[in-house]
């Protein structure tokens, strides 16, 4: 058992209102520089929709992630043999047209325009070329556009649906959508790290954050092609690749990452998971239907004395173990089992988990709402407005039973709380539903509390990083006093 700690995340999709505040917080801090204008380390998509970059989930197009070839894990497009032939031109590399051309407006024209009968307009100009341009796409161009033939109907996840389900999904009375905020998943088996020819990408041992060493990056862009979530980006100006850093300078000083901190719907949770690094390869090779359960089994119980002992022996700090015990992520993923990884069939073992949304499933059925009960007290999920297969494709590699379990439990907790607070539902019925959903009354209360009444400190349990001790072991801070500091020793300027 090789115990390691990982800062992990849960996004509760029922609470996401699609306001993009997270994206803006991230953009303002990290990606407002030249060459990064088009990057959104954090972005929010509407599902069904094509996402950003367009159709990123379609690995027939982008060839990202891993595949299990006769018991061996292989990168789909950027493996060792392929890099020799693809290094001059990778055919699966997304280009700016797959994202969008960033633009601003020429605001002077508002003031300079000659007097006329119409209002002057600020014309859009490209942030790459500086020339006038026609805006054709943006980072959230599919926002709220469920039902649209350009965006929603091209969602790669719809391949799991029957033609009948598809036509129902797009019937105007049944239109449904939810939001899907995305950041780097800081995977346990990151394809970006494994694909980097220069060895510039790495996973931090202490907290599992995946980073790109800017000094060693040579701009081969393998990580961009290899990441199946398309969360590694190429800075066209500096000639280096960049990605979400999980705001590690904030985490190291005990603050939540900017996108977490600014989240209006309070949908984001962050905490430590302890996992067994010996199992990574074995788990990543499991069959699609086993993957969710296999990944869960790698996550270790932070209360188990054996695990604690092994963690201490591995140099994990007591305070990190305490943080793991209080981790909201551990509860959602391992104890309650209501948070699932996105597209785990890409086999990178993402460490960002999603609680699938119940609302688009529930508010359905001929305009009625919750009343439609089946024989087991639950609504018939197979008749739901958003087909369960869609969520199965997105969050469970096609294992729909995992989705059913989550939706049932959420529904049961909701019914139970309604019985407690409103009282228009029999408590007996609510308790039967809880039993049916594999949920005790205590658990229901705990889920309710952490979902609805969660404070800042409930949502973000950040272990102390003790970088002050670490840095003193590597360098003498006084040596840099009144000097350049620990950062860049040269200007991060584009080379020639």
């Amino acid at each position: 058992m090789d115990v390691r700690s990982q800062i992990s995340m849960v996004f509760h999709l029922d609470k996401c209102i699609g306001c993009h505040t997270c994206s803006i917080a991230c953009k303002n801090i990290w990606t407002d520089r030249k060459g990064t204008e088009y990057m959104w380390w954090n972005n929010v998509e509407t599902k069904p929709g094509t996402g950003y970059p367009t159709k990123w989930e379609d690995q027939e197009k982008y060839k990202g992630g891993w595949e299990n070839v006769k018991g061996k894990l292989k990168l789909r497009s950027t493996g060792k043999a392929k890099i020799i032939f693809n290094i001059f031109h990778n055919p699966h590399m997304p280009s700016m047209n797959d994202y969008y051309e960033p633009w601003t407006y020429k605001y002077e024209t508002l003031f300079n325009a000659p007097e006329g009968t119409d209002q002057p307009t600020a014309l859009p100009i490209s942030m790459v070329t500086g020339k006038y341009m026609d805006i054709e796409a943006g980072p959230n161009w599919d926002d709220d556009l469920s039902g649209s033939p350009i965006y929603a109907e091209n969602d790669p996840n719809l391949s799991a649906l029957t033609p009948e389900q598809k036509s129902q999904l797009f019937a105007i009375q049944r239109l449904v959508f939810f939001y899907f905020p995305r950041i780097c998943n800081h995977c346990l088996n990151p394809a970006c790290v494994a694909s980097c020819p220069s060895g510039a990408l790495y996973k931090r041992g202490e907290d599992g954050i995946v980073l790109i060493d800017q000094e060693r990056c040579r701009g081969w862009r393998s990580c961009v092609a290899a990441c199946p979530y398309k969360k590694s980006y190429y800075n066209w100006s500096t000639g280096k690749s960049e990605k979400c850093i999980l705001c590690f300078p904030r985490i190291e000083s005990g603050q939540a990452p900017a996108c977490f901190h600014s989240c209006v719907g309070r949908i984001r949770y962050l905490g430590v998971l302890l996992y067994d690094a010996d199992k990574i390869e074995e788990v990543a090779k499991k069959s699609d239907t086993e993957l969710v359960e296999a990944q869960r089994s790698m996550i270790l119980d932070p209360f188990d004395p054996e695990v604690i002992q092994a963690a201490l022996e591995n140099g994990i700090h007591e305070q990190v173990i305490t943080a793991a015990q209080n981790s909201p992520v551990y509860k959602f993923v391992k104890i309650w089992k209501i948070a699932l990884p996105p597209h785990i069939e890409f086999r990178t073992l993402p460490m960002l988990f999603y609680v699938p949304p119940l609302l688009p499933v529930m508010s359905s059925f001929n305009g009625e709402t919750i009343k439609n009960m089946g024989e087991d007290f639950f609504p018939d999920f197979d008749k739901a407005r958003a087909p369960i297969e869609f969520f199965g494709k997105l969050f469970a590699a096609g294992n729909n039973s995992k989705i059913r379990y989550v939706l049932k439990k959420q529904m049961a907790v909701r019914t139970y709380r309604r019985a407690v607070t409103v009282g228009d539902i029999e408590m007996d019925l609510a308790k039967k539903m809880l039993l049916e959903a594999d949920c005790s009354v205590e658990e229901a209360e705990a889920i309710y509390k952490l979902t609805s009444l969660c404070t800042f400190n409930d949502r973000f349990v950040i272990p102390p990083a003790h970088r002050e001790e670490a840095i003193e072991m590597l360098r003498d801070p006084l040596e840099y006093k009144q000097s350049v500091g620990f950062g860049f020793k040269e200007e991060p300027k584009r080379g020639s």
Binding site: V128, E215, R218, W220, R221, N314, L474, G495, S496
Partner: protein
């Protein structure tokens, strides 16, 4: 030689006995200095992200062509005797000449496409600097002179091994014997001068990317983890 030296001889002396040392000295000094002081600037500086179509027809033929050609030059330089033995059979000489010429054509086609791409695509233009144009121009010059030599002074693999290789060795041994190259036709001389110019400019340009080709990738393990502290040490310190 110096007694009856003409201006022409001094030219030869400069281009073939002095320039090589200026080029090599600059190459090593600046490359090492640039790598140690501003390692950040080492990058492929790819612009495939900005323009993805002509890119294929430029970069792929260019790189495969130039790699083939460079390997050929290097073999001729390294084992000239074996090359001469190989060439003793006319059929084999013919095969090697044709292969080299095709390689040259590939390089030329690729380079022309690169020119077209950088001249016509608005986005690619944004990331094309003046030094990039200088690099592209000198490369074009080099490929054109090389192909001219191949066409008008055929059996180059033969006389390269017999005259240029010994000359290059004499340069490397710090005893340049320009008598090997002075009788060469003008195009061949220009080609040699072009080569020295490229070596001279190399460390100031994007060409440095070929020094950081990622060969260790082929045998490293897939996942990399960096620890920012010695885990065991931190713990023992703590328990004191």
């Amino acid at each position: 030689m110096m007694q009856n030296a003409t201006l022409f001889d001094y030219f030869n002396l400069f281009w073939f006995a002095i320039l090589p040392y200026i080029a090599l000295f600059t190459f090593f000094l600046i490359t090492i200095q640039r790598y140690t002081r501003t390692g950040y600037s080492y990058s492929s500086l790819s612009s495939q992200f900005l323009e993805n179509k002509i890119h294929f027809w430029g970069l792929v033929p260019f790189h495969y062509g130039i790699i083939l050609i460079l390997i050929g030059h290097f073999i001729g330089f390294l084992i000239p005797k074996q090359v001469l033995i190989w060439n003793s059979n006319p059929l084999r000489l013919y095969v090697i000449e044709v292969t080299a010429f095709i390689g040259g054509l590939f390089t030329l086609i690729g380079l022309v496409n690169i020119f077209i791409r950088r001249l016509t695509d608005a986005r690619a233009k944004v990331v094309t600097s003046n030094i990039d144009w200088i690099v592209l121009s000198i490369l074009l010059f080099q490929i054109v002179t090389g192909l001219l030599v191949a066409v008008f002074n055929s059996w180059g693999t033969q006389w390269f091994a017999a005259s240029v290789a010994p000359y290059l060795w004499s340069v490397l041994k710090f005893n340049p014997n320009i008598a090997f190259v002075t009788p060469l036709p003008l195009t061949a001389k220009l080609h040699i001068i072009g080569a020295y110019t490229i070596i001279l400019l190399f460390p100031f340009t994007r060409l440095v990317h070929l020094l950081v080709i990622p060969n260790p990738y082929l045998w490293r393990k897939p996942q990399l983890v960096r620890w920012y502290w010695n885990r065991k040490k931190i713990r023992t310190q703590r328990s004191i």
